[in-house]
């Protein structure tokens, strides 16, 4: 068997792929967090819970309505996004004039509620969600076996991230968004409905989380705790990348996923903590984050 640094290539590439998958989720989630933070100035602690909700909506669509994966991929982000719009309109919007910390506390409370409700209803053991028939099976590459679904997750999340970047950087709507991030009062004075913008941005940000949840459903079992586990890592990713740049958070997400995968090969004991260790190092060397602007 071929080996690299004493590790079978099969295992190495397998873990790298797994890292890339995790990286896909880190990228989409930190992208959503960054967009929401940029405009609303709150850190959305409920992001993990809404990611979990996306996976559950996919499961429910299949179980109760018989709608399969491709329907879920479109509908679940919509449902989560609409739910997010309600949250923003009725709860979060009341806090804009207060210290940012209250936004963190409120969304933490929301995360506890959402997570607790799903745990009561569905337990903690996790529910299975099958890989769609079109994407089952895999490719036998010279150095590894590549399951089709995993390749699809990486491609889909890259596409969504790039599309989001294009919309924000290259369209008129995105220009409004960037302007409102810089100076909401001035943009409002030009006749742009900024409160509506805030609502839609939050809706879009959490819809991204819902989308990630659907992608994750066939890989990890659909579990009420899946959001809490990932959100803290995503926070570390956000601290490492800095939330100043959209592409920055995407690149950081994927890169850290890969690093985590590599750690699983060479030093498995540290795989759960490696991202936090990198965060510490980045804080020591470049406190504003790799792509951050100094405050």
């Amino acid at each position: 068997m071929t080996t690299i640094f004493g590790v079978p290539t099969q295992a190495l590439f397998g873990q790298l792929l797994l890292g890339l998958i995790n990286g896909s989720f880190y990228a989409i989630l930190s992208l959503g967090l960054a967009i929401i933070f940029g405009l609303l100035n709150i850190i959305n602690f409920a992001h993990g819970a809404l990611y979990m909700m996306g996976a559950f909506v996919a499961w429910m669509l299949l179980t109760y309505l018989g709608l399969g994966y491709w329907w879920a991929l479109g509908l679940a982000p919509l449902v989560v996004g609409l739910f997010g719009i309600l949250l923003e309109r009725f709860l979060i919007a009341r806090l804009y004039k207060l210290d940012h910390l209250y936004g963190l506390l409120l969304t933490f409370g929301l995360a506890l509620i959402i997570q607790g409700l799903f745990r009561n209803q569905y337990g903690v053991s996790g529910l299975p969600y099958a890989i769609p028939a079109e994407l089952s099976g895999g490719q036998r590459l010279p150095f590894m076996f590549l399951p089709n679904y995993r390749a699809w997750v990486v491609v889909a999340s890259l596409t969504v991230c790039l599309a989001t970047w294009l919309v924000i950087e290259k369209t008129k709507l995105g220009a409004y968004l960037r302007a409102a991030t810089e100076n909401p009062t001035l943009v409002q004075a030009f006749g742009v409905n900024v409160p509506l913008f805030l609502t839609l941005t939050y809706g879009f940000g959490v819809a991204l989380a819902g989308f990630a949840g659907v992608l994750a459903a066939p890989i990890y079992s659909v579990n009420p705790n899946m959001g809490a586990d990932i959100i803290i890592v995503v926070f570390a990713v956000v601290v490492i990348g800095g939330m100043g740049s959209i592409l920055g958070s995407v690149i950081t997400g994927f890169a850290l996923g890969l690093v985590e995968g590599l750690t699983k090969v060479f030093y498995p004991e540290a795989s759960a903590t490696v991202i936090f260790v990198i965060m510490v190092l980045v804080l020591l060397v470049k406190p504003a984050g790799l792509f951050g602007r100094t405050a």
């Binding site: 933490f108 509620i113 607790g116």
Partner: protein, 328 residues
């Protein structure tokens, strides 16, 4: 930056300089608390009381950082839990007497606070919160994997031992005396810190950091100092808790514990001297009575969070302070 702007609950307490009659009022509250502490075991179950006291001290320590330093740490479980582990380990495997076990746990928390604090204060506002949370999660994974913590089992059947090698604290009522003394001492220390010149500078930094900088204060040193103090006292609470329940487990280092102490402080009143005690009493009572409802406790905690943030930001003691028009 608005990141470091004051929490809106705080100015109630800090709206005017404290006069002599405020100090007299506080002295009365302390006397009332001391009497309540002495009489409570006649009415209530000592283990429940000790739980309340440990969490009250934990919340007081946390509030020192949030209410007076303006720094929202979302990872205080790390100091509470790590101190709890070290104290339990020292009592069980090294056979240290309880006071030394508690001291070793507290010292560990201080050291951890020094390292994590130095890292976290490199960023402000929301980033500070995320960094403390991530560092605490690192401690959680460490506790999950390290040998000395006992992984999923935790450290069980911790001996309470003999205080100073002489007085047995196996009896709940005797141990209650020790816990009450630790709590009261911790509370007085925090009160002293808040009202010292150091505490005044902290409040100045909380209210307007650039101005404090322009006045020549080295704000980072102050922030680090209050962080270490807060972590140390949180550790004191955790280390004591390990002896009360004769158990140190992953629950103590989990992020939900960090959330719980935030909730206690929020309910009681951020930036008030006595708020965290009221908050701890309310939340521990709530959890004790709601325990049969299992996972609903999380939902209710979340709902309390949301309601407090939206409608009741001043907290219980903050409300009293407003009615009495006196800082409490």
């Amino acid at each position: 930056m608005a990141d470091t702007a004051a929490l809106d609950a705080a100015p109630i307490a800090a709206s005017r300089p404290e006069g002599r009659d405020d100090k007299a009022l506080h002295r009365k509250v302390f006397a009332g608390l001391a009497i309540a502490l002495a009489l409570a075991p006649l009415v209530l179950y000592p283990v429940f009381l000790m739980k309340v006291l440990c969490f009250a001290l934990f919340a007081l320590a946390f509030n020192l950082l949030l209410g007076y330093g303006g720094l929202l740490s979302f990872g205080h479980a790390a100091y509470f839990g790590m101190a709890s582990y070290v104290s339990a380990y020292a009592a069980k495997h090294w056979g240290l007497t309880p006071e030394l076990a508690i001291l070793s746990g507290t010292a560990t928390a201080a050291l951890l606070g020094l390292v994590f604090g130095a890292l976290a204060i490199r960023r402000q506002g929301i980033y500070f919160s995320m960094i403390t949370l991530a560092l605490a999660q690192m401690v959680f994974f460490f506790s999950l994997q390290a040998k000395f913590t006992g992984g999923e089992d935790g450290i069980q059947a911790v001996p309470r031992g003999n205080l100073f090698g002489a007085i047995s604290i196996a009896d709940d009522r005797v141990l209650y005396g020790l816990v009450a003394v630790v709590f009261f001492g911790g509370m007085l220390l925090i009160y002293r810190i808040i009202h010292s010149p150091f505490g005044q500078v902290l409040k100045a930094i909380r209210d307007n950091e650039p101005r404090a900088v322009s006045l020549g204060y080295r704000v980072n040193q102050y922030k680090l100092a209050v962080f270490v103090l807060s972590a140390t006292l949180a550790g004191l609470a955790g280390a004591t808790k390990a002896l009360v329940f004769q158990l140190a487990s992953l629950t103590d280092v989990h992020w939900s514990m960090s959330g719980e102490v935030v909730l206690m402080t929020l309910v009681g009143g951020m930036g008030t001297v006595f708020g965290p005690i009221a908050g701890a009493l309310v939340i521990v009572t709530m959890e004790t009575y709601l325990a049969p409802f299992g996972a609903w406790v999380t939902v209710i905690q979340g709902a309390v969070f949301v309601l407090c943030v939206l409608l009741f930001r001043e907290g219980i003691v903050g409300l009293f302070a407003r009615i009495l028009k006196k800082p409490l």
